[in-house]
C-alpha cells in the first residue's frame, strides 16, 4: 500500500483552516448514535475522551491504572510550550514551528508541526479556563520559562508539576462527561487486541485486570493514546506499567509502525545506583535554566572525587569544565536534549564521570544562588549583604521554582542539592517513533487513530522540551475531534456495531489462547528476567550511540532471547484473577518483538539524526551528520517476524523551512 499523508494543499498558514472549512461534519443528533473507543487517559487520551464526549459521541475510555488521573503524563515536570509571545521576545507561530522542525533534526512532517504550533496558544487559554493553576508573576499574569533548543521564553509551567496539573485538568473535563454518562470509564482494563471488521477498526478486546475477564467492546472508531515504548529498555523514566501493547497490536493488524529507532535519551536524570534498580527518575530540563553542567578538568580530581577525598565544591572555577558552555556558546546549557546527552556520554566515556560507576556529571546551582541572591538583596534593600545571606536569598528563589525537584532528588540520592551539586546522567525518556498516522492522525487501518506519544508525526528525530504536553493536548483537544468527524460522517447510517461476529470471536480466541499459554507454560525464568536482558541489549547496542555491528548483534540477540522467552517464561497464578505477572508477560512479549524492529530500523537508517546517532556518521567535531537520502519516514509493515517487516518510505518535503545543518554553537 502506498503511503498517503493526506496533507491538504495550499499555503502552510492556511492548510488547517481550509481543511476545517471543508471536512464533513456529523450533526449533533447523529453523534449520539456513534461510539468511539479511546485507549489511554493521559494528556492525549484524556483530552480526546472529554472533547469527543462533549461533542456528543458515546465514548468508552480505557486505562490500566485504577483511575484516569494516574496516566504517566502526570509525571511531566517542566512545562508546556505555546506561541503566546507574552514575553514580547519575538515568539510567533512560525518560530515555534521552525524550532520544532529544526529541533527534530528535519525528520518531522512540516504540515503537522505547523498545525501544532498554530493551536498551541489555544491550549493555554483552555487550561486556564479549566482552573489549571499555572505560575504567575506579581502582576497576576502568566509566567514563562525557557527550555532547550530555543531562544525565547515560551514555556508555561506549574512549579515542577506541569504534567500533573494539565492531566488533572483533562481528568476534570473527563469527570464532567463521566457524570453526564457520555464517557464510560473502564479503569484497570488493558487493551489486548484491535478488532477489524470489513477492513475498519470496529472494536477492541480488553482484559479486566481485577477479575481476569476477557471483554469485547465495539465502536465505530478506535483511538490509541497509550503513550510511548521507552520501557523496551527496562530502565527508563516511564511508569512501571507503560507499554507498547496497544500500539503493537494495531501494528500487527495492519497499522504501519514509524521510526521506531527515534528515542529520546534525556540528559538530566538521576544516575542509576545498582542492579536492583527498577526505574530511573528525571530531573526536569527546566533545571538547565538555572543549573550549569560540568565535570572536573583534570582526571586526578575526578579520581579524588570518586574516592571521596575531594568534594565538588572544593574545585575552583578554573578546575571545572563547563563543557556545554565550552562547546556550544550560543545555547550553552540549553542545547537540545540529544546534544546534551551525547556530550555527557562523551565526557564520561573519556573518564570524567564523577560517581563510582563513572556515569554522572554535575548540575550546579551555585551561580544561580548568587545571581538571584544579589537581585533579591537589591529588591529588599539589604546593603552589603554577606555571601551567606546572598546564598540564602538566592536559594529561596530556586526553592520557589524547583522546590519539589530538589526534594525529590534529596529523597532518592540522600544528598542536599542546595549544598552540593546534583549528579545527573542521561536516561531513556520519550519515544518520537510510534504508530504511523496521516494528517488526520489516522493509522493505515481505517478508523484506527493514534494520538500523543503513541504516534510519530510531530517531533522528528528529537523532541524539544515542553513539547510533549503541547502535542498531547493539541491532538486530543483540538485536532482529533475535527479529523475523526470527517471519517465518522460516513457512519451515521451504520447503526450499532455488534460484538457478536466472527471477527470478534477470532480476536478473542487469539487473546485467550495467548493467556492460557503463559499460565500453562510453567517455565524457569520470571518475566522480569527477560525484560532486564532485553533492556541491557537495547541500552548497550541501541542506546545513545549505535553502529552497524552492534545493531546486527542486537537483532540476533533479541531474536534468540524471544525464542527463549516463549519456551521458558514462568507466569505464576491463574488467568481469572488479579495477576500482575500475567499482564507483564504480555507486555514484555510485545517489547521483544518491537525491540528487534527497533534495531532493524536503526540499522537501515545509515545517518545520524537527532536521538539516533550512528557512529559511522558524525562530523569531525563529533556532531550528528544527516544524510540527504534519508529524508524520509520509515514506516514498517508487519509481515510476521520482525525480520520480515517491509519498509515503506514517506518522503519528507520542506517547503517552508530551509533544511540546514543543525547547529547550536
Amino acid at each position: 500500500m502506498a503511503l498517503d499523508s493526506k496533507v491538504p494543499k495550499g499555503s502552510i498558514k492556511d492548510k488547517w483552516t481550509e481543511y476545517k472549512n471543508h471536512i464533513n461534519l456529523v450533526n449533533p443528533a447523529n453523534k449520539r448514535h456513534i461510539d468511539v473507543i479511546v485507549v489511554g487517559t493521559g494528556l492525549a487520551g484524556g483530552s480526546a475522551s472529554a472533547t469527543l464526549a462533549e461533542l456528543g459521541y458515546n465514548v468508552k475510555s480505557f486505562a490500566y491504572q485504577d483511575s484516569p488521573r494516574r496516566a504517566h503524563s502526570i509525571a511531566a515536570q517542566g512545562g508546556i510550550n505555546a506561541a503566546k509571545n507574552y514575553q514580547g521576545d519575538g515568539d510567533s507561530t512560525y518560530r515555534l514551528f521552525y524550532d520544532t522542525v529544526k529541533g527534530g533534526d528535519y525528520r518531522s512532517r512540516e504540515a503537522n508541526v505547523y498545525r501544532l504550533a498554530e493551536v498551541s496558544a489555544n491550549i493555554i487559554d483552555q487550561c486556564v479556563a479549566q482552573g489549571v493553576p499555572f505560575a504567575r508573576d506579581y502582576g497576576g499574569l502568566l509566567d514563562n520559562r525557557s527550555f532547550g533548543g530555543v531562544l525565547v521564553s515560551r514555556t508555561f509551567y506549574a512549579k515542577g508539576q506541569t504534567g500533573q496539573q494539565l492531566l488533572l485538568g483533562a481528568y476534570s473535563a473527563m469527570n464532567r462527561q463521566i457524570a453526564r454518562g457520555k464517557i464510560e470509564m473502564f479503569n484497570r482494563h488493558e487493551m489486548l487486541d484491535v478488532v477489524i471488521v470489513d477492513g475498519k477498526a470496529r472494536g477492541i478486546i480488553a482484559r479486566n485486570l481485577v477479575t481476569g475477564e476477557i471483554e469485547r467492546h465495539a465502536a465505530h472508531a478506535v483511538v490509541i493514546a497509550s503513550g510511548g515504548y521507552g520501557n523496551v529498555y527496562f530502565l527508563s523514566t516511564n511508569a512501571m506499567g507503560s507499554n507498547v501493547t496497544a500500539g503493537w497490536k494495531v501494528h500487527k493488524k495492519g497499522a504501519y509502525f514509524a521510526n521506531p529507532c527515534y528515542t529520546q535519551i534525556h540528559p538530566t536524570c538521576i544516575p542509576r545506583s545498582g542492579d536492583y534498580q527498577s526505574k530511573l527518575t528525571l530531573m526536569s530540563e527546566s533545571l538547565r535554566n538555572d543549573g550549569r553542567i560540568w565535570v572536573p578538568k583534570n582526571l586526578e580530581d575526578v579520581q579524588a572525587i570518586r574516592e571521596g577525598k575531594l568534594k565538588p565544591t572544593d574545585l575552583t572555577e578554573d578546575q571545572r569544565d563547563y563543557y556545554l558552555e565550552r562547546r556550544y556558546p550560543a545555547f550553552g546549557n540549553l542545547v537540545p536534549r540529544d546534544v546534551a546527552s551525547r556530550a555527557a556520554k562523551e565526557r564520561c566515556d573519556a573518564g570524567y564521570g564523577v560517581n563510582a560507576t563513572g556515569e554522572a556529571v554535575y548540575l550546579d546551582f551555585a551561580a544561580s544562588f548568587e545571581r538571584y541572591g544579589k537581585e533579591q538583596a537589591k529588591i529588599q534593600n539589604i546593603s552589603n549583604p554577606s555571601a551567606a545571606k546572598i546564598k540564602e536569598l538566592g536559594q529561596e528563589i530556586v526553592r520557589a521554582k524547583y522546590g519539589n525537584l530538589f526534594q525529590m532528588y534529596e529523597k532518592i540520592v540522600d544528598e542536599n542539592p542546595y549544598e552540593t551539586p546534583m549528579m545527573i546522567y542521561p536516561a531513556v525518556h520519550y519515544t518520537m517513533g510510534g504508530v504511523w498516522v496521516d494528517y488526520n492522525l489516522m493509522t493505515t487501518i481505517p478508523g484506527c487513530y493514534a494520538i500523543g506519544e503513541a504516534n510519530f508525526s510531530d517531533h522528528g528525530a528529537n523532541r524539544l522540551g515542553a513539547s510533549a504536553l503541547m502535542q498531547g493536548l493539541a491532538d486530543g483537544y483540538f485536532v482529533l475531534p475535527y479529523t475523526i468527524g470527517d471519517y465518522l460522517a460516513d457512519d451515521i447510517r451504520t447503526g450499532k456495531i455488534t460484538t457478536d461476529s466472527p471477527e470478534f470471536d477470532a480476536a478473542e480466541k487469539e487473546v485467550s489462547e495467548r493467556i492460557t499459554f503463559f499460565i500453562n507454560n510453567k517455565g524457569t525464568h520470571s518475566v522480569d528476567y527477560y525484560h532486564k536482558k532485553l533492556g541491557k541489549i537495547m541500552w548497550d547496542k541501541c542506546g545513545m550511540s549505535r553502529n552497524a555491528d552492534g545493531l546486527k548483534t542486537a537483532i540476533e540477540e533479541i531474536s534468540t532471547l524471544r525464542k527463549d522467552f516463549w519456551e521458558n517464561v514462568n507466569v505464576p497464578g491463574t488467568a481469572s484473577e488479579y495477576n500482575e505477572q500475567l499482564a507483564k508477560a504480555g507486555r514484555v512479549a510485545d517489547f521483544l518483538e518491537l525491540g528487534e524492529l527497533f534495531a532493524k530500523d536503526a540499522l537501515v537508517r545509515e545517518e545520524s539524526a537527532g536521538g539516533h546517532f550512528r557512529e559511522e556518521h558524525q562530523t569531525e567535531e563529533g556532531e550528528a551528520k544527516r544524510v540527504k537520502e534519508f529524508q524520509f519516514v520509515s514506516a514498517w509493515e508487519y509481515k510476521g517476524a520482525p525480520k520480515d517487516a517491509i519498509l515503506h518510505k514517506e518522503e519528507l518535503v520542506y517547503e517552508n523551512i530551509e533544511v540546514k545543518e543543525r547547529s547550536y554553537k
Partner: protein
C-alpha cells in the same frame, strides 16, 4: 541488611486475609521500598509462589497509585514521600516491617495490598471540574489577572495526588483533606467561582454517600500527606459549604 516482613495477604475481596511472614536478605540501603518488594516477589515467583500484589506505577511520587501502610503509617516512616519514594535507609538490619493495605471501609481490598479507591473518582464526578467546554473558544489566558498569592495557594491545594493516605491515616477514615484540596483549588481561582456553591455541596454529599467519616481536627492527615496538603483546606471547604447554604 536482612529483614522480616509481615505482609497482609488476601486472595480477593471476598476471601478473609491474614498476615504472613517473609524473610528478605542482602537488601541495600539505597533501594527504594518497592525495589525491596520486587526482590521479595522475584524470590516468590522463583519459588513457585504467588507474588504479593501491590499498586504502583510512576515510582517517582506523583501518580498516587502506591498505597502501603507500613509500620502503622501510610507511606511508611519518612515524611513528605509516597511509598515508592521511601528508601531502605530508613530501616536497619534485623528490622521487622509490617505492611498492610490502606485501611478504610470505603477502600475495599481487591487483593493483598491493592485497594479500590474508586470512591475518590466518584467524588470528583460529583463536581470536581469547571463546566467549560474544551473547544478552546475561551477568552485569552491573560484576560483575567489572578494574584500570584491566590494562584500559588491554588497550586498548593491542586498538588494533591489522590493517593488516599489521608483516609488511611484518619481514625474516622475521613476524606476531607482530599475533598477540601479540590474544593479549595477552584474556590481560590476566579474561574471556579461560578459553580462554587453547587460544587462544594455536591462533592460533600457524594463524600458522605461513599461512607467516609467526619473530621475531628486531629491533623494526622496533614502529617502523613506525602504532598503536605494543609489542614487549612478543610477549614476552607467548611467555610465554602456554609457559604453555599446561606
Amino acid at each position: 541488611m536482612n529483614l522480616t516482613l509481615k505482609i497482609w495477604r488476601q486472595k480477593d475481596a471476598s476471601t478473609k486475609g491474614q498476615m504472613v511472614d517473609y524473610k528478605v536478605t542482602e537488601i541495600s540501603e539505597h533501594m527504594s521500598f518497592l525495589e525491596m518488594m520486587d526482590v521479595l516477589n522475584e524470590q516468590l515467583v522463583n519459588a513457585g509462589e504467588q507474588p504479593v500484589a501491590f499498586d504502583h506505577d510512576c515510582r517517582e511520587g506523583i501518580c498516587g497509585m502506591c498505597s502501603m501502610y507500613i509500620n502503622g503509617e501510610a507511606h511508611g516512616p519518612d515524611r513528605g514521600v509516597t511509598t515508592c519514594q521511601l528508601h531502605m535507609r530508613m530501616f536497619k538490619d534485623g528490622d521487622t516491617i509490617t505492611i498492610e493495605p490502606f485501611r478504610a471501609a470505603s477502600f475495599p481490598v481487591i487483593k493483598d495490598l491493592v485497594v479500590d479507591r474508586s470512591a475518590f473518582d466518584r467524588i470528583q464526578h460529583a463536581g470536581g471540574y469547571i463546566s467549560v467546554n474544551t473547544s478552546g473558544n475561551t477568552q485569552d489566558a491573560n484576560a483575567t489577572p489572578i494574584s500570584k498569592h491566590a494562584a500559588d495557594e491554588a497550586m498548593d491545594a491542586a498538588t494533591c495526588i489522590g493517593c488516599g493516605a489521608c483516609v488511611a491515616t484518619c481514625k474516622n477514615s475521613s476524606a476531607m483533606l482530599f475533598v477540601g484540596a479540590k474544593v479549595s483549588q477552584y474556590a481560590l481561582l476566579p474561574q471556579g467561582q461560578v459553580e462554587a456553591a453547587d460544587r462544594v455541596q455536591n462533592m460533600v454529599a457524594q463524600m458522605d454517600l461513599e461512607g467516609f467519616g467526619n473530621c475531628t481536627n486531629t491533623g494526622a492527615c496533614e502529617v502523613e500527606c506525602p504532598k503536605g496538603i494543609s489542614l487549612d483546606n478543610i477549614a476552607r471547604m467548611n467555610r465554602e459549604l456554609m457559604k453555599a447554604s446561606v
